[in-house]
Each structure stands twice: as structure tokens, then as C-alpha cells.
């Protein structure tokens, strides 16, 4: 039964680590930094837990559905492949949403600025961060489930993992390369790459830059919603509720 208790570790990472980790730094030199550090740890842990654990869960659910024969059973009962994929996705969301709420709670209770104006800004930034985070990771969970159903849990896990790491960090390196040398292919690759790093508002929280302007935030929401639609369509095409014959 211990295999199915990994959620306790995930909850521990999201709830306890953000409180403990800042105290492992030389915080005595500047105690005011401990609150931003807590927010940084909270969001960092959430990203890690989601990428390391939830993507794998989604891939495994997809793989299990196809492999166990349950997908074929539900298909025969009139539950379409799309409906099955959405149900797996919603099951994963039922893990993810509480973790996002825990992260917000840590930021609001354990790292809220005392100044009321800054507190309002803090709340707005964290809510914007939560929205962008969900817009980035939820379609990737759908990709994990659908690819997992067709190619197995390992491939189903690795693809969204690589996409998220590339979108968070790889695109930055690509930007440096396009700055150094002008290459049409690299420019084109940079444009079509998913710029998930834009959803990472941790620096705003750490350096207290304040929330994003509404127009700027809306642009990002539209951008990530567009990626979400593309990934949802590809996932629908990829999902296979029955084992490969």
C-alpha cells in the first residue's frame, strides 16, 4: 500500500519544505529575506512535484487504462476515448488543485508582506502565478495521459517532462544562440517553442516587482490558452483507450 502513499511525500514537499528550507540559508544576516525565500521555495516545490510526480501519474493512468482492458470495457459501454481521457485528466487535477491551494496558503499565510498595499500586490501576483502555472501544466498532464495510453508510461512521462524543461530553460539557451548567430531555422524554432518560462513569476515574488499589468497578464493567458488548445487537440488524437493490436 505504501506505493499509493506518494501523495504524502508530495504534500510534505508542498507544505513543509517551503517552511523548513529558508531556515537552512544564512537568513540571520537579513531576516527580511526569509518570507520571499519561503514563497520561492513554495513555488519551486510545486513545479518539482508536478513535473516529477503528477506527470508520471497522468502517464501511468493513461498506460493502465489501455493495458488493463478497462479502456476497451468503457469504450464498449459507450464511454468515448475523449471522455476517458478527460476523466483521467480530471483525476489528475484532483491531485494538482489541492497542491496549488497549499502553495497559495503557504504564500499568503507564511510570506505575506505586512504593508497592506504590498499585501494586495502580493495576493494578486500569487493568483496570477497560480493561473499561469495551471495553464502551463494542465495541458501537459493531458499530453502525459494520452501519450502514456499509446506508447506506455515511460514515453508518456518523458515527453511532457522534456517539453516543460525545454520551455522553462531550453528556450533561454536558444534565445542566446539566436542572439549570437542569425539563423532562420533557429529563429523559427524560437518562435514556435513553448515559452513556459514566461509563466514563472518567482522573480516577481522574490524581488517584489509587484503583479503584472492586466493587459500583459491577458496576453500571456491568451498565449498559453492557445498552446493548451493545440496540445489538447494533439492529445485527443493520440489517446488510445485500447491496447495497441
Amino acid at each position: 500500500m505504501i506505493q499509493r502513499k506518494v501523495w504524502i511525500i508530495a504534500l510534505f514537499c508542498a507544505l513543509i519544505l517551503p517552511i523548513v528550507l529558508p531556515y537552512l540559508t544564512p537568513y540571520e544576516s537579513n531576516p527580511s529575506l526569509i518570507e520571499p525565500a519561503r514563497a520561492q521555495a513554495a513555488w519551486g516545490c510545486l513545479w518539482v512535484v508536478t513535473i516529477a510526480w503528477l506527470f508520471f501519474q497522468a502517464a501511468r493512468f493513461g498506460d493502465d487504462t489501455a493495458r488493463s482492458g478497462l479502456g476497451a470495457y468503457f469504450l464498449s459501454s459507450g464511454v468515448s476515448g475523449l471522455s476517458q481521457m478527460m476523466q483521467i485528466w480530471l483525476a489528475c487535477l484532483s491531485f494538482l488543485l489541492p497542491l496549488v491551494l497549499v502553495t497559495l496558503a503557504v504564500c499568503f499565510i507564511g510570506a505575506m508582506p505586512s504593508d497592506s498595499a504590498q499585501a494586495q500586490m502580493w495576493i494578486a501576483t500569487n493568483l496570477q502565478y497560480a493561473a499561469l502555472f495551471l495553464l502551463v501544466v494542465t495541458p501537459l498532464m493531458m499530453v502525459a495521459a494520452s501519450v502514456g495510453s499509446r506508447f506506455g508510461s515511460t514515453v508518456g512521462y518523458l515527453i511532457p517532462l522534456c517539453m516543460s524543461v525545454y520551455g522553462m530553460y531550453g528556450v533561454g539557451y536558444l534565445a542566446m544562440m539566436t542572439d549570437v548567430q542569425s539563423n532562420l531555422l533557429l529563429d523559427w524554432l524560437y518562435v514556435v517553442s513553448p515559452h513556459y518560462h514566461l509563466a514563472d513569476l518567482t522573480p516577481r515574488l522574490v524581488f517584489r516587482h509587484g503583479s503584472m499589468l492586466s493587459s500583459e497578464f491577458l496576453q500571456l493567458v491568451i498565449y498559453f490558452a492557445g498552446i493548451k488548445m493545440v496540445l489538447a487537440m494533439l492529445s485527443t488524437l493520440t489517446f488510445q483507450p485500447k491496447p495497441a493490436s
Binding site: Q3, R4, G69, A72, Y73, S76, S77, S245
Partner: protein, 223 residues
């Protein structure tokens, strides 16, 4: 209980061809095709002749290569490889699949079958895992409904006692339920009222018309 107003039905149209890429079996010279009504029908064939393929095609999991087939009624396909979450006990699986009013009856039958409903599914023997799947299918059948159960090798791993319990239940619970059961009977005297045979790449229907045939006679027709 009033009999259902509309009966479940399976129709395999003449010209139906099944398989993966190339035809495994097809219906020829069967007039208007094969029509099955409620009751239990056995799907009999040697290994690799297309029993599972036919059931999957009927379930809508596979597309026919040619022609058409239709299941009229609420269909459930229980594949031979159907498994549930290995950490869940049968009680949790029943709660997920079976309606509340039938849950107690399912548990009663599970006890008759000596199935440990509190043991995690992954720790059950092959036969007991099969019992869980069969109980799920049996008790998902709606009262006064139109149910089509496509059962692929449901007796694999089952002991004779359990198999007889299910067969007795099927005989008593035929109205509104069509069961198409693929199997390899293990004794020649087993009576078969209606059977769909796949032999030499042809799908045929042998109806007993009230006079049951024995497996011993039918198996001579298989190749």
C-alpha cells in the same frame, strides 16, 4: 418483474469480415446474416481463429474489415485481459461499478463463490480475479434493460463449481440479457443451445432450436 419491452440483439450482417489488416473470418451464405437474441450464446473456435477479434468488433473496439455488425442494447465487453487496480479490494471495485441496490447481492454471490472481497485485487488468484470481473458484468446488468455481455474466455482459471454457479445464474437470468461467451468447454457433455462457430475462416450460427447440442458434437465441426 415484467419482461423488457425491447429485447437486446446482435446482428452480424452477411459479408461481415473481421481481422487485423487481413481477414481472419467472415460470414458467407448466411442469408440475412446472423441474428442473436437474449439468452446465452457460445462463441466456439480453435485458438487464433478470431473469437476475441469478433467480440472486439462487436464491442466497437475494432472496426470490421468489411460489412457491418450491430449490438442493440447496453454493451459490456469483458476482455480476457481485463484487470482492475491491484491495490483495491473487490468491495471497492464493486462500489465503483455496481449500483447500490445490487451491491449486497453481488457480495452474497461473491461469498458463495468463496471470493475474499477484502483482499487487494492484485493478491487474488487468476480464477478469483476472473470472478471479480464476471460479478462486475453480471451486476451491472440493468433490471428490465437491454444488456449485451460480450465475455471473452470468462471461464479461464475458474473452477468447475464457480463455472456452474455462473451458468446456473445465466440460465435463470436470460430475459433482457444477451450473453455471447467465447470459451473452450472442457467436457464433451456440456450442452450448448446456441453457438456461433468460427471454422475455416467462416462464421456460422448453429441454433439448437430448443434441442441443445453437446460440445462433443460441435467440436468436430471446428477447424
Amino acid at each position: 418483474m415484467n419482461p423488457p419491452s425491447v429485447k437486446p440483439r446482435i446482428h452480424l450482417a452477411c459479408g461481415l469480415s473481421i481481422g487485423y489488416g487481413e481477414s481472419l473470418a467472415r460470414i458467407e451464405n448466411e442469408g440475412g446474416g446472423i441474428m442473436l437474441g437474449d439468452g446465452t450464446h457460445y462463441l466456439l473456435a480453435r485458438n487464433g481463429r478470431g473469437k476475441t477479434t469478433l467480440l472486439k468488433t462487436l464491442a466497437g473496439v475494432l472496426k470490421p474489415l468489411n460489412g457491418g455488425c450491430e449490438c442493440e442494447g447496453r454493451t459490456q465487453y469483458l476482455g480476457e485481459d481485463l484487470t482492475f487496480d491491484r491495490e483495491l479490494p473487490a468491495t471497492a471495485i464493486f462500489k465503483a461499478f455496481i449500483k447500490k441496490d445490487k451491491y449486497a447481492e453481488a457480495i452474497d454471490l461473491a461469498q458463495t463463490l468463496e471470493l475474499d472481497v477484502k483482499k487487494p485485487y492484485g493478491q487474488l488468484s487468476t480464477g478469483n480475479k476472473r470472478k471479480v470481473a464476471l460479478l462486475v458484468a453480471e451486476f451491472s446488468v440493468q433490471d428490465q434493460g437491454r444488456d449485451v455481455l460480450l465475455l471473452d474466455e470468462p471461464f479461464t482459471g475458474l473452477d468447475t463449481f464457480s463455472r456452474e454457479v455462473f451458468q446456473k445464474r445465466w440460465n435463470h437470468n436470460q430475459d433482457g440479457v444477451l450473453r455471447l461467451v467465447s470459451c473452450h468447454p472442457d467436457f464433451d457433455s456440456m450442452e450448448v443451445n446456441s453457438s456461433v462457430l468460427i471454422s475455416d475462416g467462416k462464421i456460422t450460427h448453429v441454433a439448437g432450436d430448443g434441442n441443445a447440442q453437446c460440445w462433443g458434437e460441435l467440436k468436430t465441426q471446428l477447424n
